[in-house]
């Protein structure tokens, strides 16, 4: 089968999104270690294929609920990296005007309804948004909630999954199974190898996908989105991945071997995996990938410059946005 132009474009878009996230996170990591970024920062390095594949299956007006590890979701949904970077630096030009920072990054103009400092805080928000869209506002928008393996142990997971399933709501549960919840390995807090086994308890399709393979993630997400948009209800996607970085920038990682992590990264880096698969599928060459990497590096450099040159918010306006009126 010949490769179509659309396939090539899509592949290029996948790679550009992933490369943007990677460069963004590397830049943040550097600046955070250098003490230039306030607050807690959680990186998405190694998990780029998930947000990228899922968001590629969404429309601009579809909605996502993100996590404390939210930069990747935000970029994949289409946010402006300048404004993101500015927000993470706490600047006035940031998308939350400096009020949120990394853990509360959000861009409502593209349906990115926010990172969340509360683990497991997103399920009900996404499900409620799906309810409003389908049952009240009567449109066909779809919601996605991203969540970690650790987050899957919160009761909110259960309440949202149950309602979504009972009412056939257009919400997709995307589990980023990266094997760690902060310092805690997944299997010490859970008796099932696959979190997606839980989907059965709600009679919701549970799909396992290689979270390092953006093509596979995209296909799974596409099927789930179609299902949701047709009113057939939620899907649970478990994307297998691994947390490559510390839980947060600066984490001494006393609880695991850095070497093992590096080996896993070496073997499963989603950008590397992309290059191999793209070559096999003949949708992109290494050179094309390199060119995108360069472009992304520039873009992130510019974003950093934008952020650094922006002003902090005006102290006197600290009470702005507590209330509408």
């Amino acid at each position: 089968m010949a490769v179509t132009k659309a396939q090539k474009e899509q592949a290029a878009k996948f790679y550009e999104t992933m490369s943007t996230i990677r460069h963004f996170e590397e830049s943040i990591k550097h600046d955070s270690l250098a003490g230039e970024i306030p607050g807690f920062v959680h990186l998405y390095i190694g998990e780029e294929a998930i947000a990228t594949g899922v968001c590629a299956a969404l429309r601009k007006d579809d909605m996502i609920e993100s996590t404390h590890r939210g930069h990747g979701h935000c970029i994949a949904k289409g946010a402006d990296v300048n404004k993101m970077m500015a927000e993470i630096f706490g600047k006035k030009t940031g998308m939350c005007q400096g009020r949120g920072g990394s853990m509360h990054i959000a861009d409502f103009s593209i349906g990115m309804l926010g990172a969340n400092g509360v683990v497991g805080g997103g399920y009900n928000l996404a499900t409620g948004a799906a309810l409003a869209n389908r049952m009240v506002l009567k449109n066909d928008k779809v919601s996605v909630v991203f969540f970690g393996d650790g987050a899957s142990n919160r009761g909110t997971f259960h309440e949202a999954m149950n309602v979504a399933s009972a009412w056939h709501l257009p919400v997709i549960f995307v589990n980023e199974m990266n094997c760690w919840a902060s310092t805690t390995p997944y299997r010490t807090t859970c008796n099932t190898e696959n979190i997606s086994d839980r989907a059965y308890g709600y009679h919701v399709p549970g799909v396992i996908v290689d979270g390092q393979d953006v093509f596979a993630v995209y296909e799974a997400a596409k099927t789930a989105v179609e299902r949701a948009r047709k009113g057939e209800g939620p899907t649970f996607i478990e994307a297998k991945t691994y947390r490559i970085e510390g839980h947060y920038v600066g984490d001494p990682e006393l609880y695991r071997e850095r070497e093992e992590t590096q080996k896993i990264f070496h073997d499963t880096d989603p950008l590397k995996m992309f290059r191999i698969k793209a070559a096999k599928l003949k949708v992109m060459t290494a050179k094309e990938c390199d060119a995108i990497d360069e472009k992304c590096a520039e873009k992130i450099k510019a974003a950093k410059k934008f952020a650094m040159e922006s002003e902090y918010p005006d102290s006197s306006e600290y009470m702005k946005y507590v209330y509408v009126d």
């Binding site: 939350c96 409502f108 409620g128 309440e159 509408v324």
Partner: protein, 324 residues
């Protein structure tokens, strides 16, 4: 003028706003098939099919889902069943509902109303009798109201639903059946959240309360009147942001203050009122402030014990008499 119960008045408020705005909907337990366990949604399920939803017993969803629905552009009214269960979705209230607008730099709007039936009925015991309004005026980003009569019940609920900010609406279980006069629809003056009302003018002492506490305030004022003491009775209506000015102005006139609520006294909202007056108008006071609330005790079941955790008009009467 018509006579309606408090519960009926809230139904009217719901109906009028739902009629006007198709994005208003309600969800909670026992709303659709039952019309609310206190009749506070009665008739609405038939009048607005598909817009009054019976949920599972999943309070984090009821409230968190309400916040999500609001973020998506709807105007949810969510019901807490009993205010006693508000601890279940406390995180959704505290960390999501209250903060979404601020932490996202004004991108989000959360036009949600959380209705919470509270207070002692007869022997509901420790987990079905409580007043917990005091926790919420401590949380920036939400507004808190607690009307005391059918007229306010309606106008305050309408204002809450129309507000673009999240509002906690405490409605007392005993008050539901109380009747009061409501004007024809055309006569009604919209309520502005944050405004107190001087319900009765007086010159000798200011009694401040809200919700069911107003019954004590009014009854105490009646008792005092017999002794020629003219109490000014202030119905706070809104607890956050609360109407300091009205209270301070009243105290500056009467020089005496008595605060009362059904909730536990310690760290209750009465402390905020009392403290504010002590800080901002102490020089006007001719007597120490009086504050009444329940003793520091879970609500017991037995009638002989439950009666001990209630506040009575006679308590206020005696206390206030002692001020002179």
């Amino acid at each position: 003028m018509r006579k309606l119960t408090f519960a009926q008045a809230t139904c009217e408020a719901m109906a009028e706003t739902m009629e006007k705005d198709p994005t208003v909907f309600a969800m909670g337990e026992d709303l659709a098939r039952q019309g609310g366990i206190f009749g506070q949604f009665k008739g609405l399920p038939d009048q607005f099919p598909g817009r009054i939803l019976d949920t599972p017993i999943s309070e984090t969803f009821i409230i968190g889902g309400g916040v999500g629905a609001a973020l998506a552009g709807a105007r949810p009214v969510v019901d807490m069943h009993f205010a006693d269960f508000i601890g279940v979705p406390m995180d959704e209230i505290f960390n999501q509902m209250a903060k979404a607008r601020y932490m996202f730099g004004g991108q989000a709007t959360v036009p949600l109303v959380l209705r919470a039936p509270d207070g002692m009925t007869f022997q509901g015991a420790a987990q079905h009798s409580q007043c917990v309004e005091a926790w919420f005026p401590h949380i920036p980003g939400i507004k808190v109201v607690a009307p005391s009569n059918p007229y306010d019940a309606k106008m305050v609920l309408k204002a809450a639903i129309e507000s673009d900010d999240p509002v906690l609406y405490f409605e007392n279980k005993i008050l539901y059946k109380e009747k009061g006069e409501l004007p024809e629809v055309a006569d009604q003056v919209p309520y502005t959240i944050g405004k107190a009302r001087v319900e009765r003018e007086g010159t000798d002492v200011t009694i401040v309360s809200y919700s069911i506490g107003m019954k004590n305030a009014r009854a105490a004022a009646d008792l005092l009147a017999k002794d020629g003491i003219k109490a000014e009775v202030v119905d706070l209506i809104t607890l956050s942001p609360w109407d300091k000015e009205t209270v301070l102005n009243s105290v500056k006139k009467t020089h005496r203050l008595c605060v009362v609520h059904e909730a536990v006294k310690q760290s209750g909202f009465g402390a905020e009122i009392s403290a504010t007056v002590a800080e901002e108008a102490m020089e006007y006071l001719d007597a120490p402030i009086l504050r009444y609330g329940a003793p520091f005790c879970p609500i017991p079941f037995a009638p002989t014990l439950e009666k001990m955790v209630r506040v009575y008009p006679e308590d206020l009467y005696k206390g206030i008499k002692g001020m002179f």
